[in-house]
Subunit: 523 residues, 2 copies
């Protein structure tokens, strides 16, 4: 409140004639008629005041998926700070998918973010009566898997680099910044590829630090149906940069095993052969990486294997494999099986269910991942041991509502005070999804916001500890928005509009340590 | 206020556990810990309550220009009702330009709108470092000038027709619905073409009722510089539908005289030869039509001629030509000069300045149009006479601020009580623009909201008489938003974000008579 008043005083000093609503209303229309034109600044009014009182700071950055762009909203003024639309740059299928923002001392003066895009047939899975494929626009750069590095310079956003073009590695799903803000990891669940990138300065281009591919070898190869349920082996291979060109050959749709992504809770479509492609049987569903706050370990997320492979970023070797299903061992051994290129294997007796979004608590003591479809719970790992080979599955977040496939725990993040975990809980189209609150000490569900909106996706927290922002994307065709509630008292605050399918969001960090509660440790 | 309370009661009856902020805050976190998960609907909170209290109804529809789509926001819930992105349909340069919505009894259950797009080189005029032209994406359907008819069915928006494709007439600027909602007019200032379209029902396609082209013949043909200043003749020609194909041949860039639009206040660039094209010397700048509330007369807006040609929609003949500059005659005679095809001419002794946006007051008694650049004022015509040949220029809105080219009166609309005219007042990039209020009885400026935001474009009014919505598009690259103030007491209310270049807006009419205060009578 005092922030708001100070700001209004400042405007008055700067010459703005800000008049409080009450005082202003006292001047009748007739009285004003007598005088010359009255001048008024715009910084005032009920909506203006409420936004300043509630949201004293914070730039919310959100990619709009089929909308094709990304937008930054200044939460205090409730104005759009800046935005970008990727078709302007000649991208013919710019599904603005996920993003992560590097910290900036003052985001209003500038910041940088990495924005993955999907492309190709991913535009066809939402029931839009389109001829975009017949027009040939899903070829060429319409294949997607761009990794756009975008800079806001204090006035406007500009696309400064397509990391996929610079490096030859195109990845269309999660982009997750390192805890020290010195680079990011990208991943793609159609290709089963993850790559770790440095952070270029000035006019430099991004470089690949290391890249890997995951491949599944089923024990039972008689059908897709038993390919994961029946167990098998994860092979994790280090990718080698072609020395003559200095570029990988994995742009666009190169390397795709399936022709479009597994939408959330769609892993079983692969078992049923309902997602075509070159190699669904070897799919691991490697679509994300999250980083342990200690800045050494990264967890490579494998949806089909229901696992998180822990990679040591000090020597780029995997060391342990956390396995999610209830009733399965929690930590599987990783064995190096080859070199030139390096390869490691993990053996799974079975895979009781797929798992999806995941994250570390900001104190680094816990890791969670969502068991979906055949199980519907959240395993919690104790990750406080310095050696990931000793990380242990210690409990599960469970709830009477979590029976059958839906509603289903989905994305997560943690409160700034580390006492709570927030979960989006997905219902199938066209139903409204929910956002739940879990006590991060007892791992019990303590609150459920029902009927938030269709297709709740990621959440962001304000770093002042006040608010949680839950984006819902309306399955790209239905109503969408951003639901806000308080981090401490868990009260609803209201909604923001979402101008087009936005399905991810982060608050631009103003300190490196904010990354522990941002798109770094959690998805 | 009572509307909001009723709504919350209703939710409670429907089973939502809506608890007021105060009551809720009384429950400590520890107390809640003891119990099973608390359930909460999301319909509540300070922001929710304020939106319901302020904006009990209204769907704001806004096209996002370079964002490439159009969005409908439910002002009461502050959620996005639905949206559409035109690249999803294979449009490679979908500059979502202007729109008008047909009335709907209940827009939340469905409504329809017409959305023009620009395309081609119009994407290149904003300083974006893009290779979209080199990639060939400004050819084919990237040429733009689509007229998308979009239907919201109560759940999602779908593109049901490209009127440009159905009729062969592509027009990229204003789309303006008839006062009886039985059709619309489109126009394009690169082609100097206007067409009048019917309103199809069910699965029918749109048909052209009539189409015209404007051409300028300068008296002094020695240079572009004197081509309009020195006077000349407007020739207005009826276009003929090719009988063998039943389709005009004016899709995409066909018929363009200049290669990109004259941006606001850019008419003098044509005089200086700074906008290339096939025929800048014949340019009339015919980029809009507005309709007289009586539903018979339409004003065809001619920017370069500083004129509004009044067309009788009963017999599709022009009858009078209103001429804007101060010091010039206000009503010029129109002479039929040919048939097969029909053609009419209007002679101008000189054109003292270009003019741009225009509109009729909702009572039909006044017409205004903006004198820009060489003059900076607003002529007001008395249009109460049944015969447009007797419409008279009676006064000017003038202001000490309006000297030189900027700030410059731009778009306009009227209050529901007809006592006020609202004006966006444009400042050059990157400066903030303003919104002014004019007493529509005395034609004096009574209020100026300074520093609204960069690039204020159109306004919309809420049909309950409460609010004015002023969109600002940030010149497509800067901060953008929607400024709201009250229609009666002229107090600021606050801002809404604008997720990407939105530069036009209408509130979806719920009654046919709302069109008199919507994108029908004014631009």
């Amino acid at each position: 409140m005092s922030g708001s008043i100070d700001r209004r005083r400042l405007f008055q000093l700067l010459g703005g004639s800000v008049i409080g609503g009450g005082a202003y209303a006292g001047l009748g229309y007739a009285a004003r008629q007598e005088r010359k034109a009255e001048e008024n600044d715009c910084r005032g009014g009920k909506l203006w005041d409420l936004h300043h009182d509630l949201f004293g700071s914070g730039i919310l950055l959100s990619p709009q998926k089929l909308g094709g762009g990304t937008h930054a909203v200044d939460l205090a003024t409730n104005r759009t700070l800046a935005w970008i639309s990727y078709w302007n740059y000649g991208d013919t299928c710019p599904i603005s998918h996920h993003l992560a923002a590097y910290p900036s001392d003052d985001p209003r003066k500038g910041f940088e973010f990495i924005n993955s895009t999907q492309g190709g047939e991913n535009v066809l899975i939402y029931g839009i009566p389109t001829r975009i494929k017949e027009k040939g626009l899903l070829e060429g750069n319409g294949q997607g898997n761009h990794l756009y590095r975008v800079r806001y310079d204090g006035a406007q956003m500009t696309l400064v680099e397509d990391v996929a073009e610079s490096t030859g590695i195109g990845l269309g799903v999660h982009t997750v910044i390192y805890p020290d803000a010195q680079g990011f990891a990208g991943a793609d669940g159609q290709k089963d590829i993850t790559a770790f990138f440095d952070r270029p300065r000035g006019t430099e281009k991004t470089k690949v630090q290391m890249a890997f591919r995951g491949d599944w070898k089923a024990k039972d190869t008689s059908s897709l149906e038993r390919a994961w349920l029946g167990g098998g082996t994860l092979r994790f291979t280090r990718l080698v940069e072609p020395s003559e060109t200095g570029k990988y050959e994995l742009e666009g749709s190169k390397g795709n095993k399936i022709n479009w992504e597994m939408a959330p809770m769609s892993e079983l479509l692969v078992e049923r052969g309902q997602i075509p492609g070159d190699s669904p049987s070897s799919l691991t569903g490697l679509d994300a990486v999250v980083h342990h706050p200690g800045n050494r370990w990264s967890a490579v997320i494998l949806r089909m294997c229901s696992a998180a492979l822990i990679v040591d970023r000090a020597n780029w070797e995997p060391v342990a494999c956390l396995h999610m299903p209830k009733g399965s061992p929690g930590n599987l051994p990783v064995k190096k099986v080859g070199s030139g290129p390096d390869a490691w294997e993990v053996t799974f007796d079975d895979v009781k269910n797929p798992a999806h979004e995941a994250g570390f608590s900001p104190d680094g003591k816990s890791f969670v991942m969502m068991n979906n479809l055949r199980q519907n719970n959240i395993p919690v790992f104790d990750t406080s041991d310095p050696d990931p080979r000793r990380w242990k599955k210690v409990t599960y977040v469970e709830d009477p509502d979590w029976t059958g496939q839906y509603p289903s725990p989905f994305h997560l993040c943690f409160s700034m005070d580390r006492t709570k975990m927030f979960l989006s809980v997905l219902a199938p189209k066209p139903r409204d999804s929910e956002v739940w609150v879990v006590d991060a000490r007892t791992w019990k569900v303590i609150k459920k916001f029902r009927n938030v909106g269709p297709d709740c996706q990621t959440m962001a927290v304000s770093y002042d500890g006040k608010y949680v922002f839950q984006i819902f994307s309306g399955f790209q065709r239905l109503s969408c928005g951003l639901f806000v509630f308080t981090q401490d008292t868990l009260e609803p605050v209201g909604y923001f509009p979402n101008f087009g399918g936005h399905h991810d969001c982060v608050v631009v960090p103003t300190k490196v340590e904010h990354l522990l509660n941002s798109r770094c440790t959690t998805l």
